[in-house]
């Protein structure tokens, strides 16, 4: 009997504890998930980057959550100020990278916890990526901080081959002449779209940068980027005026200046493909056809490109191209983040995005770009851009992207002002010089231009 009572008491105690546990059960379990802030909000780009993240997870089991925002710079700055920076972020530009690195917010690639992984990554960047790409990821005293996740070429003039009797001229004077002829016969030569808040105006800065690079050369371009050349200097002023020569003429841009100012940059090339052409040329990185179009325009057939024209009548022995790219840097060091950075630079990761968007995304890894080029049809758009990236040309990183953020913002704004009222050019340039006086830290020295392959330094 006593044993039964004791058993009953024990049962009571156990049941009570079980009930208490059931009532109090809670808690969380979870493994570490990396967060990366990105600027890719468009569906195609978001999906392509997600494919990279998925491949990383398949290889390592580590989840990386992408947090896309169009206001990347602003949101990232706020997060860093609040000490709530994400694990990793795509840098708005190399200028922003330098700024964060100088403040000590970023993790150096050669200071990884896993030293072998870090030094292997740095070696890979210096051997497989050309100087303009690896240098874009360096800051402070040339220390490595970032990996180039994808690359793009901007010195391109796009056109619809079936709508032009001949290929666009390869000289500036010829291109301007063709444009004038079109205007005279009632056609509109140029597409232009500048709206992209909070950075509206940047497609115009690409124009001016390209003109300056081809008109005055890589050395002047570099001095200008470094803040050593006045905005009111003849070289810079002439670049603005050359751009104005095209765009301020009546009837030269689709819809007029106000339409150019209000149209989203992503839609800039749409009039190239309308039944009645709204325009015939567009400048810049690979065009994006209207995704809602009934028939999807085919690269090489419905649209194609020529390199930015020369200003001199005879071709330069070493052509120069303006390029850009997206850098990923690390704010919080962790074994998972280190593995992700190493994965991003690897040939395996570098070929994922160009594989999904072959005409608009390219790898800065020379070996990958060479391999991808050989996989594309001879003469195709993707192959020619890959070949351009791996040629012996001088590649100059996007100037406004390489300037300090306040200078780049003023440059963007100046483009909008200029298109609104071209007569204000002297005032606009003088204003930019005032911004320059405050924007640059002492002894700024960049290397925005370099031969695409190691061992052929341009400057």
């Amino acid at each position: 009997m006593r044993q039964r009572r004791q058993a009953a008491l024990r049962l009571l105690l156990v049941l009570t504890l079980l009930a208490a546990s059931a009532a109090c059960l809670g808690g969380s379990s979870g493994r570490r998930v990396l967060v990366i802030m990105t600027p890719w909000t468009a569906e195609a780009e978001r999906n392509s980057f997600q494919a990279v993240l998925t491949a990383f997870k398949a290889e390592t089991g580590i989840t990386v959550h992408a947090s896309p925002t169009r206001a990347l710079d602003q949101v990232l700055r706020t997060a860093v100020q609040k000490r709530e920076a994400p694990d990793l972020a795509v840098m708005a530009n190399p200028g922003a990278l330098r700024s964060y690195a100088q403040q000590g917010d970023l993790v150096r690639l050669d200071r990884f916890q896993d030293r072998a992984l870090g030094s292997g990554l740095v070696d890979l960047l210096r051997s497989d990526y050309g100087p303009p790409w690896s240098r874009a990821g360096e800051a402070v005293n040339g220390d490595p901080y970032a990996v180039m996740v994808k690359a793009s070429v901007k010195s391109l003039i796009w056109y619809a081959p079936q709508r032009l009797a001949t290929r666009p001229p390869d000289t500036w004077a010829g291109l301007v002449g063709v444009g004038r002829s079109m205007v005279q016969r009632g056609d509109t030569p140029w597409c232009l779209a500048l709206a992209d808040p909070p950075n509206s105006g940047w497609p115009g800065t690409d124009w001016i940068e390209d003109i300056l690079l081809h008109q005055s050369g890589a050395d002047i371009y570099t001095d200008w980027v470094d803040g050593k050349l006045d905005w009111t200097s003849p070289q810079v002023r002439e670049a603005w005026q050359a751009w104005g020569q095209i765009f301020t003429a009546e009837g030269s841009i689709h819809g007029g200046p106000l339409t150019a100012l209000l149209t989203g940059y992503g839609e800039g090339a749409y009039p190239l493909f309308t039944a009645s052409p709204g325009c015939y040329f567009e400048h810049g990185a690979p065009v994006t056809p209207d995704p809602t179009a009934v028939t999807k325009p085919l690269p090489g057939k419905d649209y194609d490109f020529v390199p930015f024209p020369e200003f001199r009548p005879t071709p330069t022995p070493t052509p120069a191209y303006e390029v850009s790219g997206d850098l990923v840097a690390m704010f919080h060091d962790s074994p998972e983040a280190e593995r992700f950075m190493a994965f991003l630079a690897s040939p395996q990761a570098q070929q994922i995005w160009p594989g999904l968007q072959p005409e608009s995304a390219f790898s800065a890894n020379r070996a990958v770009a060479t391999r991808l080029a050989s996989g594309h049809a001879t003469g195709s758009v993707a192959r020619r851009i890959d070949e351009l990236l791996t040629s012996s040309a001088i590649l100059c990183f996007d100037a406004s992207d390489s300037m300090p953020s306040s200078m780049a913002a003023a440059f963007n704004r100046a483009v909008l002002d200029y298109l609104n009222d071209p007569t204000r050019l002297p005032t606009i340039l003088a204003g930019l010089d005032k911004v320059r006086a405050d924007a640059y830290p002492p002894s700024t020295q960049s290397s925005v231009c370099a031969h695409s392959s190691p061992g052929q330094e341009a400057k």
Binding site: L15, A20, R70, R77, P197, L258, T259
Partner: protein
């Protein structure tokens, strides 16, 4: 309570017939009853605390977070309406973006700050809040630029690019806030569901309660057989107190749920609806004004690449003050309901603690006289 005259203890058939063994049995029963009463009471307290916590999480955080997200969304729409109207009317030239606009921007920031404190929706909300904060800064900067352009040139067309860029930013903030609203609503629904699930599990406290009741019955049986006591008042008091504890426990689950549900389904739902209606009216009015500005600036080219289309003339935004008043009333009624539910839970917790103490004390005292009989003369 007067102790009845002592009765000579009888030997029980299934117990060893020695007084010391009976005394030990009584002591053990006393210990088990006190421990069982305390454990049952403690479990009831845990259950009620959880009910209190659940009520607090839903009524004190998840639902207010939804209201803050709705308020931020509404304030943004109203800021856009006020700003665009100022451009269309030309009041921006001399009056700037206006007091209403600035109040709305302040309201957005205030609501976002409160939302950050109340949210129960998880980690993604934090990044969305950062995004909204950054976008609002950009939105405000573009509008200030548009106002400066208008002032400098006196031409609305010259201000239009920055005004359009601000509108693009506004759309992005609006989309992000909409996502936040959805996340907060989902979190609220999730919390309400989990409260119900938890309360079903909480009913497990009835198991030890039933076992303790059985133990009381067994004790009463022992007293009746050995000491011829049909009813022990102290033991009965303990049983009644413990039963009241269990009943209150069940009642707390039911009543706090009921109060919260009526607060959520009544004033809360009304406040959300009013906020959404007002936001829709403000957004439609802003679109109409913007379309008028764009068509005035570029009559030949249509929308100048903005893809703006003529807006159907909807209800005027004539009564924002009145709607705001109704909305504030509904919010206040909800807050009051949620606070009542919370206050009720606090009183209940105190009562539960008291009843548990009574049950344990009565159980301890009930067997003392019988045990004392053995202590002083049983040997």
């Amino acid at each position: 309570m007067t102790a009845p005259p002592a009765v000579a203890p009888e030997a029980v058939a299934d117990e060893p017939a020695t007084p010391s063994t009976t005394a030990r049995t009584l002591r053990r029963l006393r210990g088990a009853l006190v421990a069982g009463s305390l454990l049952t009471g403690a479990l009831c307290l845990v259950v009620s605390s959880q009910a209190h916590g659940g009520t607090d999480a839903v009524g004190g955080r998840a639902a207010p977070a939804v209201l803050r997200a709705e308020a931020a969304y509404g304030a943004l729409a109203d800021a856009q309406r006020a700003a665009v109207h100022g451009f269309r009317q030309g009041t921006v030239v001399l009056g700037g973006l206006g007091e209403q606009y600035r109040n709305d921007i302040a309201a957005i920031n205030q609501n976002l700050a409160e939302l950050a404190g109340d949210t129960v929706a998880g980690a993604t909300v934090s990044s969305d809040l950062q995004l909204v904060e950054g976008l609002v800064v950009n939105y405000n900067a573009e509008l200030e630029q548009a106002a400066a352009d208008y002032r400098q040139t006196g031409e609305l067309t010259r201000a239009l690019p920055a005004l359009w860029y601000a509108t693009l930013q506004y759309r992005e903030v609006s989309n992000t806030l909409d996502r936040l609203r959805t996340e907060e609503n989902a979190a609220l629904a999730d919390r309400r569901g989990s409260v119900w699930l938890a309360r079903t599990a909480d009913l497990l406290f009835l198991v030890p309660f039933a076992l303790v009741l059985a133990l009381f019955a067994r004790t009463q049986s022992v007293l009746r057989r050995r000491f011829r006591r049909r009813l022990s008042i102290r033991l009965t008091t303990a049983v009644l107190a413990l039963t009241a504890t269990a009943l209150l426990c069940g009642l707390s689950l039911h009543v706090s749920d009921g109060r919260l549900r009526s607060a959520l389904d009544g004033p809360f739902a009304r406040a959300v609806t009013l906020a959404q209606e007002q936001a829709s009216r403000s957004a439609a009015q802003a679109d109409r004004d913007l379309y008028a500005i764009v068509t005035q600036a570029c009559p030949a080219a249509g929308s100048c690449g903005t893809h703006l289309a003529p807006q159907a003339s909807g209800p005027a935004t004539a009564e924002p003050g009145r709607t705001g008043h109704h909305q504030a009333e509904a919010e206040a009624a909800f807050t009051s309901g949620a606070t009542d539910a919370e206050a009720y839970s606090s009183v209940l917790l105190a009562l539960l603690a008291l009843l548990t103490s009574v049950a344990a004390t009565a159980a301890a005292l009930a067997l003392n006289p019988r045990i004392d009989e053995y202590r002083f003369g049983g040997q």
